[in-house]
């Protein structure tokens, strides 16, 4: 469904600070794939997601979605196909808008925006139903400013907004990393529910190996801008944290981050 062929991404190209962020990366993402992505700091995980979303233009290679070449589509145009949740909970919502206004903006993702009413009374029911799934009581606070919500609540709202209009591809960029452990666990459960209930094609970057192993049907390990492991279905379910660490040591020339090591201990609420 999504076909990425030999993409390369450089930063500061031609200067002494040149970084080759993504190296000849190719991958076919099937309809309904839930892929978790792990890798050390600077492996290119977030850069890869940004290349898919169009935030970064690739220097070479092609990206196709359903047979359409979207390589040169700007970010806002790709948003028709892609829903996103960022690491920073403040990035995915408008603090000065109400919950209803934010939901209404998300309902128009990838559609033309005209002079019709921004928040339509007829949509409020839909908003309430979608927010009810969160179990956070947000459905009764539609007129509250989003700036009043906690980071976890804002991230949950972002998740609902990203999937309010069914995306062809859902990109989750370490979307639980900035949350406290309990909220992160709830967020993860919500992710599992929304993604599996709707059969969404999803890419999720994480620093937590247990998350990567427990969620999804496919696991990708990245290192220095390349995919060094692509485990599907059975191969993925037979993977263990130890096996992943071993892979890191052999393929990754031993440089795994402290954060990665810390995350190998079993999380409290997972």
């Amino acid at each position: 469904m999504i076909c990425v062929q030999n993409i390369n991404k450089y930063f500061h190209r031609g200067s002494v600070n040149e970084v080759h962020g993504i190296r000849d990366l190719s991958i076919d993402i099937e309809q309904g794939d839930f892929i978790t992505i792990i890798g050390s700091n600077g492996a290119g995980k977030s850069t890869f997601l940004s290349c898919l979303a169009g935030t970064h233009a690739v220097n070479s290679g092609t990206i196709g979605v359903h047979g359409t070449d979207v390589t040169h589509w700007p970010e806002y145009k790709r948003a028709r196909l892609i829903g996103r949740v960022f690491q920073d909970p403040l990035k995915g919502t408008c603090a000065n808008g109400t919950i209803a206004q934010n939901m209404a903006l998300a309902l128009k993702r990838g559609k033309p925006r005209g002079l019709g009413r921004g928040v339509k009374v007829t949509d409020l029911d839909l908003f309430r139903r979608r927010l009810q799934v969160l179990g956070l009581g947000l459905e009764s606070r539609l007129r509250d400013r989003v700036g009043l919500l906690s980071g976890g609540q804002r991230q949950a709202l972002t998740m609902v907004m990203a999937t309010l209009v069914r995306p062809d591809l859902l990109l989750l960029d370490e979307h639980t990393a900035a949350l406290d452990p309990k909220t992160a666990a709830q967020m993860l459960e919500l992710t599992r529910t929304i993604v599996t209930d709707n059969g969404l094609t999803t890419l999720m970057v994480t620093h937590n190996m247990h998350q990567a192993l427990n969620l999804g049907n496919r696991l990708i390990m990245m290192h220095q801008g390349r995919i060094i492991l692509d485990a599907r279905a059975d191969e993925k379910s037979s993977l263990t944290v130890e096996a992943l660490l071993h892979k890191f040591h052999t393929q990754g020339e031993g440089d795994i981050s402290d954060r990665m090591l810390l995350n190998t201990s079993r999380p409290m609420h997972a």
């Binding site: 948003a79 919502t93 000065n96 808008g97 206004q101 559609k111 925006r113 005209g114 928040v119």
Partner: protein, 294 residues
């Protein structure tokens, strides 16, 4: 202050209030500090003056002035979004260009409009004295503009504009081309400023290339005074606050200019100092209030 001076201040408040609403649109909604307004106010006046003196209707003049203002704002926004020039610098470039352009339009530094028809000409037949008619008429115009702006900011596109100023990441990820929103937003803002300039020219009977000096400061003063006095909990309330801020600003200036202490009196050349003082007062008053409450 005499009643006559008070009515004059109200009239000025409503006229410049339209400009202040434009400044609010860029400064607060789009988070785009826009100095173009110092050029687009006289641009509106110039276009209006030339259209009226060449024998066309004052309403057509108003429309053309508003369109010219939109183009000036769009030019600034294109410099910023497409050519990646810093917003502040982009607006200064358009502003200084407009100085030359305005002189070209008027074929000189000013055009007199004394005796020329204005939008008040038809209304004078009602028999109301001009010093009552004129603030009344501009009250209707300013509040209508405010109502349209409030309606616009609640539309799908208006909401996208609010989000563009608030969180560009988010609204881009939701499929909005923020460059276009900024071009239209800054364009609309300057359309309002030019419309205000055109009305001012009709009202004072002249257009002058230097009449725009300090527009941005007066606009900001109105926005900040209004928000401080009336609060800004909702869009509608804030728009009303901006208009009220413009009235307060003009009344404060009228009061200051009528101030006399022995031989000492403030003159129109002290306006900038008075404005700066008012803005500082408005900006610091919430802090002072909190200090006093403790």
């Amino acid at each position: 202050m005499t009643l006559y001076a008070f009515l004059g201040a109200l009239e000025q408040g409503f006229l410049y209030g339209i400009m202040a609403l434009g400044v609010y649109l860029t400064f607060r909604i789009l988070d785009f500090p826009d100095l173009t307004v110092d050029g687009s106010l006289p641009l509106g006046a110039s276009v209006c003056a030339v259209t009226v003196t060449s024998g066309h209707s004052p309403y057509l003049a108003l429309t053309l002035a508003t369109l010219a203002g939109f183009l000036a704002g769009a030019a600034t926004a294109i410099l910023n979004t497409k050519l990646k020039i810093l917003h502040l610098l982009a607006s200064i470039l358009t502003m200084i260009s407009l100085y030359s352009i305005n002189i070209r339009i008027m074929d000189g530094p000013n055009v007199a409009l004394l005796g020329a028809p204005s939008i008040l000409t038809d209304l004078e037949k009602t028999g109301l004295p001009l010093h009552v008619l004129s603030p009344l008429c501009f009250f209707v115009v300013a509040t209508s503009v405010m109502a349209v702006l409030i309606w616009f900011l609640h539309t799908e596109f208006g909401q996208a504009m609010l989000a563009t100023g608030d969180n560009r990441h988010m609204i881009t990820a939701l499929g909005v081309n923020t460059d276009n929103v900024i071009i239209i937003g800054v364009g609309l803002s300057n359309a309002l400023v030019a419309c205000s300039g055109a009305l001012i020219a009709q009202n004072q009977g002249a257009a002058d290339v230097n009449m725009g000096v300090g527009t941005i400061v007066a606009g900001l003063a109105s926005v900040i005074l209004g928000e401080t006095i009336c609060g800004a909990p909702t869009i509608a309330r804030t728009c009303a606050a901006v208009l009220a801020g413009s009235l307060v600003y003009r009344i404060a200036i009228a009061l200051a200019l009528s101030f006399k202490l022995g031989d000492f009196a403030l003159t129109p050349s002290d306006l900038n100092l008075i404005t700066a003082f008012l803005v500082i007062l408005a900006l610091t008053s919430p802090m002072l209030k909190r200090r006093l409450a403790r």
